[in-house]
């Protein structure tokens, strides 16, 4: 009898083995001890001449840490500014809200954020494509005089960033043209408030996304009106940003729970059809950046697979997801130039993995 039971239990454990074999950072990330030569990757990311200033590099494969390196003063416990990576995390947060039935892509933004009644045709899907059609100048330090984003963050718009954006004139019909705009992202952050019951907003990023993922380091700064600065001001440790990456890599599922609908992740990963391809520049999807090939056949990052996608921020912040390779890569940096090449880093990571066991 006991033997039968044992045999039964053994069979049962075999049957459920695949589910248990999947690695999740719960509570902490496990390490994959496979010896891999990271020299070429580190030589690129952490050059002795300081031409690139990588603060953190974290490479995860199928839920386990393969490689991790920090440059002082950043450490594994530093909640680092992500700049525009915030936008893609906001889109993932909105994915939870969409899964809860709080909105549809074709809903007018004005339904959730009344100041957008000045632009009643703009839909949430347009904002996620950075295609509101509102006049916008997205430049940081090189053209501060006419930069809409500088005005929004630091002068005229800082008390209420969404209101500042909604007051911009329409330059195009909505949904027709991609124009990268931090204002569009902050309209999304303000619209989220209108989707929730009174008092839910302050806790929502934690309740809906960060806590289920075991993220403890998040800081998300707000404007004077109390809206999250969805465009720019989320801070996370590299290990916690990688949790967002793993959620995306596994199509919105976190352990047994479908936290974000798989259809939403598919939307994030679908190129905006009306965006014109710019050589070497990742293509906009639903508030995430894609390595899809242009009609001419060239991928923005030629050495990375076409299904690679990313969240990207100012001064070299990046979260890359390579679903086929089951890779999640976080890079934090303080690059004050534009010499960093996504393709270079990804090429070297893939080459190091190709040499595995060699």
């Amino acid at each position: 009898m006991l033997d039968t039971l044992k045999a039964l239990l053994a069979t049962l454990s075999l049957a459920v083995a695949p589910a248990w074999a999947e690695d999740w950072p719960a509570p902490d990330w496990q390490t994959d001890p496979t010896p891999i030569d990271w020299q070429a990757v580190d030589a690129y990311a952490f050059p002795p001449d300081g031409s690139l200033r990588t603060d953190a590099l974290l490479i995860i494969r199928d839920g386990r840490i393969l490689h991790e390196r920090y440059a002082a003063p950043t450490t594994a416990s530093t909640a680092h500014l992500t700049w525009s990576v915030s936008k893609s995390v906001l889109a993932t947060l909105l994915g939870v809200a969409q899964g809860e039935g709080r909105f549809q892509l074709q809903d007018p933004v004005a339904r959730f954020y009344p100041p957008m009644q000045a632009h009643p045709q703009v839909r949430l899907g347009d904002l996620l494509h950075w295609a509101s059609g509102l006049a916008w100048q997205e430049d940081y330090e090189y053209a501060p005089l006419h930069s809409s984003v500088v005005a929004m963050l630091y002068t005229r718009g800082r008390e209420d960033m969404a209101a500042y954006t909604a007051a911009r004139p329409a330059a195009q019909l909505p949904g027709q043209r991609f124009l990268y705009s931090s204002g569009d992202s902050n309209l999304l952050a303000a619209a989220l408030r209108g989707m929730l019951d009174a008092g839910e907003y302050a806790d929502y990023p934690w309740q809906a996304l960060f806590t289920p993922l075991g993220i403890n380091s998040a800081v998300w700064e707000r404007d004077g009106a109390g809206s999250y600065v969805g465009s720019s001001y989320l801070y996370l440790t590299a290990r916690d940003l990688a949790r967002i990456g793993l959620l995306m890599q596994r199509d919105g599922r976190w352990r047994e729970r479908q936290l974000v609908p798989a259809t939403w992740v598919a939307f994030n990963r679908t190129p905006f059809a009306l965006a014109e391809a710019v050589p070497g520049e990742a293509n906009p999807g639903g508030h995430w950046w894609l390595n899809t090939a242009s009609p001419g056949g060239a991928r923005p990052w030629p050495h990375a697979p076409a299904d690679t996608y990313a969240a990207l921020g100012h001064w070299g912040q990046a979260l890359y997801v390579l679903p086929t390779q089951k890779l999640v890569i976080v890079r934090y940096a303080d690059d004050r130039g534009d010499s960093y090449q996504h393709d270079q880093l990804l090429e070297r990571v893939l080459a190091a993995l190709a040499g595995e066991g060699a």
Partner: protein, 102 residues
């Protein structure tokens, strides 16, 4: 010839006046950018990312010099002055970090 020149000058004056009128808001805002940027990003560097004062001074350094960059560590309040404008940012809480004060 002189008449052509006069017309050209008049045209130039009108176009400069027009763009100046358009740019007046941006020009009025411009001097405030440096101190606002420095106060906000220094505050977050210190009290959100948790780096030391020397690092954060370097982190916010721009090509235009600041007249003042001072922190009140007890209140987590940062004051910056530059180009004749003064801005303050303060830490608001563990989840919400820093914000520019009105």
């Amino acid at each position: 010839m002189r008449r052509v020149l006069l017309v050209l000058l008049a045209l130039l004056g009108v176009s400069l006046g027009w763009s100046g009128w358009q740019a007046r808001q941006a020009l009025a805002d411009f001097p405030g950018i440096l101190s606002a940027y420095s106060a906000k990003e220094y505050c977050s560097c210190r009290f959100v990312m948790g780096f030391d004062p020397a690092y954060c001074r370097g982190y916010v350094k721009q090509w235009l010099p600041l007249g003042l960059l001072a922190e009140n560590s007890a209140q987590r309040l940062v004051t910056a002055e530059g180009l004749g404008r003064r801005n303050q940012a303060a830490w608001q809480g563990a989840r919400v970090g820093c914000r520019l004060l009105p």
